[in-house]
């Protein structure tokens, strides 16, 4: 009985392949269309409303005044600060991740490779908050790094670093340097793994051919290895860049309390109820990422996909 009914169903779909495709695609399409794009659209819509400063209520009329508020010096500073941090973190993560990924892709074999995966993934398994708090202790004025510097008689060097305008501060954990270190540490695995995957796909023969044709290692790296591994670097940078753009916990725990976009959105959508400005702020990283992806595409980063 069951088999017969199942047979009828499969016969029905066999005769109408279009319907089958639709039935299979409907749930994911609904998910993307309603839940995903729908909520993004609701957000976008909010950003075109504005908050009446007098009553503290959202006025549901089309206006661009909320976006104009983004241009206020304080808000521009928040955006610049966040984007600069994201860019610096991404560059540092790429520079750190490339040799690690290269070693893993080219030289690590058997148990070493397993160990590599374990070492890269392990930080992702422990709680994000625990890691950030641990870094706060490491970077504190009376923390491990300060102690180490004192033992090595490097305290004056550390103080000179902290005396640097803008990026310095009273201690490592109360400065942009500290925020930067923690961001780079937390997002590094997201850079290593895509680069490693890209490097695995670069044929060893190409590198050898370049050497045979007389290219010195630097040339091989610039003209063969890097262009072929670029999709991996770009994929990694999308992670590190967008994750830094949106994070609101790290800068709240380690840093000098100068707000980032994530914290600003968090504060605005709360008791303040300024959802339009919060939405406008959320559109900023989206726009930046769109520009970023377009440039990456122009550079041919996705050609190998």
């Amino acid at each position: 009985m069951m088999a017969a009914r199942a047979g009828t169903v499969s016969d029905f779909f066999f005769r109408r392949p279009g319907l089958l495709t639709l039935a299979l695609l409907a749930p994911p399409l609904l998910w993307i269309g309603v839940v995903y794009v729908g909520s993004l659209f609701a957000l976008l819509l909010q950003s075109f409303y504005h908050l009446d400063d007098f009553s503290g209520l959202v006025v549901h009329e089309f206006t661009l005044s909320t976006y104009a508020q983004l241009a206020a010096p304080a808000n521009l500073a928040i955006i610049t600060r966040t984007v600069t941090m994201a860019a610096v973190v991404t560059i540092a993560a790429a520079i750190l991740a490339f040799p690690i990924a290269y070693y893993a892709a080219r030289y690590a074999k058997g148990p070493m490779k397993a160990l590599f995966y374990l070492a890269v993934m392990m930080p992702l398994w422990s709680s994000y908050l625990v890691k950030v708090y641990a870094w706060k202790l490491i970077l504190a004025k009376e923390g491990i790094l300060g102690w180490l510097a004192a033992q090595l008689h490097l305290t004056p060097a550390l103080n000179a670093l902290l005396a640097t305008p803008v990026i310095g501060g009273p201690s490592l954990s109360i400065s942009y340097i500290g925020t930067f270190l923690v961001f780079t540490y937390i997002w590094l695995p997201y850079m290593i793994l895509p680069i490693q995957a890209a490097l695995e796909r670069v044929p060893k023969t190409l590198i050898e051919a370049a050497a045979d044709l007389g290219a010195h290692p630097g040339q091989t790296f610039r003209t063969v290895l890097l262009p072929l591994a670029l999709p991996g670097v770009v994929a990694g940078s999308i992670f590190t860049f967008s994750l830094t753009l949106g994070d609101y916990i790290i800068p709240a725990i380690v840093g000098n309390s100068r707000p980032f976009i994530g914290q600003t959105v968090y504060a605005l959508q709360g008791t303040a109820g300024d959802i339009p400005l919060a939405a406008a702020f959320t559109v900023v990283p989206m726009a930046i990422m769109a520009v970023y992806l377009t440039i990456a595409k122009q550079l041919g980063a996705f050609d190998a996909l």
Partner: protein
């Protein structure tokens, strides 16, 4: 995260707007329904899981048969959102959430005749404006506490007399400047702390209430906060981070809660707290009953239980807060007889309890609303 939060907020807002007429309080209570769902601050409803000595749930469950489930919320906004979503009976709302819940008709009036312990409540809290509207009570007071000035006792031999140590650049008693050694709270409500300081410091501004500031007064407060930025290395947000900053970052004075001070003292750190001559801001929480609570009988039983002197005393010891029932201050082994004074009992009259500033206000006619405080305070921290 932001998208879903905003959507949840929107849905909640529209739901709040569509509810109808004012509700009447219950006339009588029947047998317990066997369950009770509470939204609470972390650490507010303890059943001995963290420390066996601190348990005010197990006994209640045995006695009434109401199985208690707790959902903790980290911010007032989260509490309002959870209550708007429904499915909860009670919430321990702070002053910035309670009036919003009443205005949104998400909580129902309380018939105090059904709460025998009501008469034991501190008289100063019975008609507090954050839970009483037009003479109707919308909950029972739970706990309150001041935002104290915490200071390092090796630097300050005597308690600082004024908040000026955190607001204005000066040499502290140890001869070194306070620059980089003081902290301020990172929430926009801290604007009220600065306003409170200016109330005494610059009487010519005529600030009558730190939560009601006209544009001139507000501008003066902002100037003070901008100058303070140069003194503050990091603004504090998380209580545990501040404890760590007092230990490891050389912070010697900051606005704080008795909670952090108690932790530091317990850790034998040279830290104490005071309420300076200007007074202090503070918070007061109310247990409120959801408008469509599924377990109202159990909820009333809990309201009564929550005012039990033993519960109030144990909770005050655990949370570093002050009981709403004065009888709780005597003979509690966990709190000790000095506990209420340590946590700020005597300072009630010097405290301006937290409220959400709105555009309309009694003192000045038109005031700067909280949304503006938020934007400007972000700008202060970011400069």
């Amino acid at each position: 995260m932001s998208t879903t939060r905003i959507l949840a907020g929107l849905l909640a807002l529209s739901a709040a707007c569509s509810t109808g007429l004012a509700q009447e309080a219950k006339k009588e209570i029947g047998a317990g329904e066997g369950a009770l769902n509470i939204v609470a601050w972390p650490g507010y409803i303890e059943r001995g899981e963290t420390d066996k000595a601190y348990d005010w749930v197990t006994g209640f469950e045995k006695e009434t048969g109401c199985k208690v489930s707790v959902k903790t919320a980290a911010t007032s906004d989260e509490m309002v959102t959870l209550m708007n979503q429904g499915g909860f009976d009670l919430v321990t709302a702070s002053g910035d959430a309670s009036l919003r819940l009443i205005a949104g008709k998400k909580v129902q009036p309380i018939n105090i005749d059904l709460v025998p312990s009501w008469k034991t409540v501190d008289d100063r809290l019975k008609d507090a404006p954050w839970h009483t509207v037009d003479g109707v009570h919308y909950g029972t007071p739970y706990q309150w506490g001041p935002n104290v000035l915490a200071y390092n006792t090796t630097v300050f031999k005597d308690a600082p007399k004024s908040w000026s140590v955190v607001f204005e650049e000066q040499n502290l008693p140890d001869g070194k400047s306070n620059k980089g050694r003081v902290q301020a709270f990172d929430g926009p409500i801290y604007v009220a702390d600065a306003a409170l300081y200016l109330m005494k410091k610059k009487p010519e501004l005529g600030i009558k209430n730190p939560y009601e500031l006209n544009p001139t007064q507000y501008a003066a407060v902002m100037d003070l906060l901008k100058a303070q930025r140069a003194l503050v290395g990091r603004y504090w947000h998380d209580a545990m981070v501040q404890v760590d900053d007092f230990k490891n970052e050389g912070v010697v004075a900051s606005s704080s809660w008795p909670f952090q001070v108690n932790l530091l003292v317990a850790d034998k750190k040279p830290v104490a707290s005071t309420v300076p001559e200007e007074g202090a801001t503070g918070w007061a929480d109310t247990t409120m009953l959801h408008a469509s609570a599924e377990h109202p009988n159990c909820a009333y039983l809990w309201l009564n239980h929550s005012l039990d002197p033993k519960v109030q005393g144990d909770l005050a010891a655990w949370f570093g807060s002050v009981p709403s029932v004065p009888a709780a201050c005597k003979g509690n082994a966990l709190l000790t007889d000095a506990g209420c004074d340590t946590n700020g009992m005597a300072n009630f009259d010097k405290i301006w309890f937290w409220r959400t500033p709105t555009g309309k206000c009694e003192a000045e006619g038109a005031c700067v609303p909280y949304s503006q405080w938020t934007k400007d305070y972000l700008a202060v921290m970011g400069q």
